[in-house]
């Protein structure tokens, strides 16, 4: 993996993470520290899964 593709992958993961974390913050009822921590970790896992899924459907 060259530096350029690694940068693109990191940017994509970051974009997914931001979108998913924002979605989490919108959907919960009360915003506090615990919710923020849980949302950030779940959004990180979700970003990995979302990138894997995106790569699986666009192989060509």
């Amino acid at each position: 993996m060259t530096g350029r593709t690694a940068l693109a992958a990191a940017a994509e993961l970051l974009a997914w993470w931001v979108a998913l974390a924002l979605l989490w913050l919108v959907f919960i009822s009360t915003v506090d520290t615990l919710e923020r921590i849980v949302g950030a970790s779940v959004a990180a896992i979700g970003a990995l899964v979302a990138r894997a899924g995106r790569r699986a459907v666009t192989w060509r």
Partner: protein, 150 residues
Amino acid sequence: MNGWILAATVLLAGGAGTALWGVATGPLSRRVVAQNLSTSVVCASLLLLAQGYDRTAYVDLGLLLAVLGPVGTLVFARLLAEDLTDDRAAAWGLTWTTVGVDAAVVVALCVAAGPGRAMVKLLVVGALLIGGNLVASRALSGGFQGVRGG
């Protein structure tokens, strides 16, 4: 009983009643269209009920249905594809009417909620609902020829 619950009752009795009649009689193409439209009508009335009972947590029901309703319709579109090749299940007039009702409900709820996170959540639910409904309608009318068959 307030106006929101009254609106939900009218929407259920009119829209969901019509969908039930459509899904129980007639050719297969009409039945799948009625099944598709029933999910968006029921989702809109669930959102109205959430506002009527003044429980914001009830919006999650509408969110779940907005995501899973089109999925259910896509299941039918995929597995009934052979039966639907003869008569395409296209009813764009009805689809756009339902989309208009959904948009009106979401806008009214947004006005009632006022600016804030609740309004953003309602807008996300509305976008998922309308987008999913349109995608499912397109799939039923044979719009995705590339992924058909099998």
